[in-house]
């Protein structure tokens, strides 16, 4: 079961992992921002664990999340409708308005 579905509003966690060294797949520029789930990609072994030779199981749901460029870059000067889509694992996401 996945926590989110296409169309849901989500917010990306802001924090860095507490205990470096770490391997993360959520780019810095998207942390803390809100977007809309574009699709559920399925479940994959967690690369943040695989990077350290661990099994990366149980598999974790992966989403493609769509953000407005204007929300990502305050000085963005392209079309208001321009978007950026990024794959983000579920454990990096909260429901918008639900974050601690």
């Amino acid at each position: 079961m996945t926590r989110f579905a296409a169309g849901d509003r989500v917010r990306v966690h802001k924090q860095f992992p507490p205990t470096p060294p770490s391997h993360i797949r959520t780019p810095y520029y998207i942390r803390g921002l809100s977007g809309t789930v574009e699709r559920v990609c399925g479940a994959f072994r967690n690369p943040e664990e695989l990077a350290f030779g661990r099994p990366g199981t149980p598999e974790v749901p992966l989403y493609r999340v769509r953000f407005r460029q204007k929300d990502v870059w305050p000085d963005y000067d392209g079309n208001e409708a321009d978007k950026i889509e990024i794959e983000i694992f579920e454990f990096w996401l909260d429901a918008e308005g639900d974050e601690a």
Partner: protein, 222 residues
């Protein structure tokens, strides 16, 4: 030629032509293939150990290198041309890319592919900001610029400017959608079929489709 000419150091600009003169030696640029860097040494050691332990053979490695080299953008171009000429195929390509691409004779292996269709309303462009994820199984080896820090950092932030540098002008009222492949999916852009190609065969259309248009930094023109 003066006696000391060929003893000088070649620090002058070579903006003049010499007649052939066996006495006149240019310094040779050193070969680059004799540097055993840390990673080359590591690769060689691991490879030799794996062969020695019977995990792989030299022949397996050769076959895999040849399989990698056989993956070229023309494979993707065939897929695009089929999608342009067969709407039912295009639908399958977007819904079930692996199965659709197998129909054209290519195995995309374990890759999870997302096909992004360019339309008059939306232009798609692909990047991997964290490293250089690329749909190698269908497009082969990525171009150097795709892996450059400049492309990776700029195309997410100022995509229209970067596209313009590739000669691609996207109309202001058309949405630009950047896709950052950060995890397990790989992205393939299905470019728009150019006007004036109505009578063309699938093979003729495939010849128009180039690599960059399937990354989304260019469009296809007839």
């Amino acid at each position: 030629m003066s006696g000391d000419h060929h003893h000088h150091h070649h620090d002058h600009d070579h903006d003049h032509l010499h007649p052939y003169d066996p006495e006149h030696h240019h310094p040779h640029r050193p070969d680059q293939d004799d540097t055993m860097t840390y990673y080359r040494l590591m690769e060689e050691a691991v490879r030799e150990l794996m062969i020695e332990k019977g995990l792989v053979t030299q022949d397996d490695i050769r076959a895999e290198v040849e399989a990698m080299d056989a993956r070229v953008p023309a494979n993707g171009a065939k897929v695009v041309a089929r999608a342009w000429t067969d709407p039912a195929f295009k639908k399958r390509l977007i819904e079930t890319p692996k199965e659709a691409i197998a129909e054209v004779g290519h195995d995309i292996g374990p890759m999870k592919l997302v096909v992004l269709e360019n339309t008059p309303e939306v232009h798609n462009v692909v990047v991997c900001t964290l490293c250089s994820c690329y749909p190698r199984w269908i497009l082969g080896i990525p171009p150097d610029w795709y892996k450059s820090r400049s492309y990776r950092s700029r195309v997410v932030r100022e995509p229209r400017t970067v596209l313009r540098e590739f000669g691609t002008e996207i109309a202001d009222n058309r949405e630009v959608r950047v896709h950052d492949s950060t995890a397990d999916m790989r992205y393939f852009v299905l470019p728009m079929r150019p006007a004036g190609t109505e009578g063309m065969s699938e093979a003729e259309l495939a010849a128009l489709v180039h690599r960059d248009s399937m990354i989304g930094v260019t469009e296809v023109s007839a």
